[in-house]
């Protein structure tokens, strides 16, 4: 069918009903899939402000978040030619995370929201989708968009993190406000040896080491992008025409 014909058919009331159902399905599945993936891979790095260090969070965080977001990005482009799959997934995973933080972490367990805020990936998702839209190439998107995803994750979220990195001295020891909040809110699932997430060895590099971490994050995300494409192809596209027949 021609594009004009498809556009005209899309105005039919039944076509609009299908649009509503598709939107409902996408909202639900693009909340659950990336959210479960994120809570299990990022886990405590996303839950607690004192876990947002300069070594693991900048690398594990964006890589975990990118994996399933890329699947949405790929499937939206493949099936619908819409450059908004990653943004859609990033928005709804953040909505799901905030609902959980407000009604569970704060509403039931009384952790303050400034202790349990989730990291955002929306700016990076916008960049990823736009680069695919402009380049029309997954290869270019992986090198530019994937790298940007990892590279700007920390700077973007640092805007929310920086107040908690202020140093304080208590009982002769110097640490951050985030560390102090972590000491006060005891968590039985977080063992003692993990209480000080920001480890000492790379502290000697002072302000420069975070750039080493974000560089590694960019490289990692470039690879993770292709893992996400693979999952999308294997589970979202390949079954389209495959039928298991009796031989």
């Amino acid at each position: 069918m021609k594009a004009e014909e498809l556009t005209a058919l899309g105005q039919h009331r039944m076509a609009k009903a299908f649009d509503v159902m598709l939107l409902c399905a996408l909202v639900g599945f693009f909340t659950v899939i990336p959210h479960v993936s994120r809570m299990l891979y990022m886990g405590d790095w996303d839950f607690w402000v004192d876990w947002k260090d300069k070594l693991w969070w900048p690398i594990v965080g964006p890589a975990s978040a990118l994996l399933v977001t890329t699947v949405g990005h790929y499937l939206a482009w493949y099936y619908l030619r819409l450059p908004l799959g990653a943004t859609f997934a990033a928005v709804f995973v953040l909505i799901g995370a905030w609902i959980s933080r407000i009604f569970s972490f704060y509403g039931l367990e009384y952790y303050p929201l400034n202790f349990v805020w989730p990291a955002t990936t929306i700016p990076m998702a916008l960049a990823l989708d736009l680069i695919l839209f402009w380049s029309r190439s997954y290869l270019v998107t992986s090198f530019v968009g994937g790298f940007l995803w990892g590279f700007i994750f920390y700077p973007i979220n640092w805007l929310m993190l920086m107040p908690f990195l202020q140093p304080i001295t208590l009982f002769g020891k110097t640490f951050t406000i985030a560390d102090l909040m972590g000491y006060y809110f005891v968590r039985p699932q977080t063992p003692e040896y993990l209480r000080r997430i920001d480890e000492g060895t790379l502290q000697a590099f002072l302000g420069q080491r975070i750039w080493i971490s974000v560089l590694m994050a960019g490289v990692t995300c470039t690879i993770v992008y292709w893992v996400g494409i693979g999952i999308g192809k294997a589970l979202g596209v390949m079954p389209l025409n495959k039928v298991i027949r009796q031989t």
Binding site: M1, E5, A8, L9, H12, M14, A15, A17, F18, V20, M21, L22, C24, A25, V27, G28, F29, T31, V32, I33, H35, V36, S37, M39, L40, Y41, G43, D44, F47, V68, V71, L75, Y79, G96, A97, I99, S100, F103, S104, F105, G107, L108, E109, V116, R187, P188, Q189, P191, L194, G232, L235, G236, V237, M238, P239, L240, N241, K242, V243, I244
Partner: protein, 285 residues
């Protein structure tokens, strides 16, 4: 258009005359209209999950901290039994409702060699509605899963039946499984010709992969609780036991294949409806 093109013999074979069906709120194929199914299913799903959250807020701390107390059994195991009843009811109703091919479709094909486009669109709409309702329970999985993570940070390990586990493992996970299985079951019994062609045989991979996520989730629950009950695995939250939960949810991407296989037929049937041409709704794959 359907009325003009439907032969008298097909109408006579219809289970219930059209006017009576309209009065009963059903379509000509005797099923609930798909938008009504979606609205009712989504509303009940969201309402049930909201009510469970309110129940948790009210009874979590007063009676939910000690699984050995009789109050715990009353308030929390009572909720568990209610959830089991709902699960069994939804599963049985879904299985029985869609276990046979549509009689109207069979009559159309026998008499006219094709299915009425509006009739087929209603079937496709019902398939999409079942997927949309499944997604509502996915939303619940997303919420209750992270709630469980937060709960485990303020208490030490309890039994498998905790105020956070009961809505997660014994309601939203199995409901997601049941609804995705109903989607595949519906596609198999009502729209199989769209996936394998008229007279074709075999099982499309999307039928199997879409509910496979739910199956894997439930299987991993069993493995997880066995592990938590038998071994001390609380060193790190992100344990190897928990990774399959994430991998299982990836299988829900097969829903794209399940739904988008029907998209060309949607447009063809819409075209036939709007232009009043003879549709080509009976296709080889």
């Amino acid at each position: 258009m359907a009325a003009t093109q439907t032969s008298a013999s097909v109408e006579s074979q219809a289970v219930v005359p059209k006017q009576e069906q309209a009065e009963q709120g059903k379509t000509e194929h005797g099923e609930m209209p798909f938008m009504r199914f979606m609205v009712i299913g989504s509303s009940l799903g969201l309402l049930s999950q909201f009510l469970i959250r309110l129940w948790q807020g009210e009874w979590w701390f007063p009676v939910g901290l000690d699984a050995t107390t009789p109050e715990f059994a009353t308030y929390w195991l009572g909720l568990l039994y209610l959830e089991c009843v709902v699960l069994i009811a939804v599963g049985v109703i879904g299985y029985l409702s869609y276990r046979k091919p549509c009689a109207i479709c069979t009559a159309y094909k026998k008499e006219l060699g094709r299915i009425d486009p509006e009739h087929e669109l209603n079937h496709i709409g019902k398939l999409w509605a079942t997927v949309a309702v499944a997604a509502i329970f996915g939303f619940g999985v997303s919420y209750f899963a992270e709630q469980d993570a937060s709960w485990h940070q303020i208490v030490v390990r309890d039994t498998a039946f905790t105020p956070s586990h009961i809505p997660l493992f014994f309601y939203t996970f199995p409901m997601l499984l049941i609804m995705t299985a109903i989607s595949s079951w519906y596609a198999y019994n009502r729209l199989h010709h769209l996936y394998v062609g008229e007279g074709g045989k075999g099982i499309p991979l999307s039928y199997l992969l879409f509910p496979a996520g739910g199956w894997l989730l439930f299987a991993n629950v069993a493995f997880n609780e066995l592990g938590h009950s038998s071994w001390i695995t609380e060193e790190l939250f992100v344990q190897p036991f928990h990774f399959p939960f994430a991998w299982a949810t990836y299988f829900f991407f097969a829903g794209f294949a399940l739904l988008f296989k029907t998209v060309p037929h949607i447009f063809e049937n819409l075209k036939a409806m709007t232009q009043q041409e003879t549709p080509t709704s009976v296709h080889a794959s």
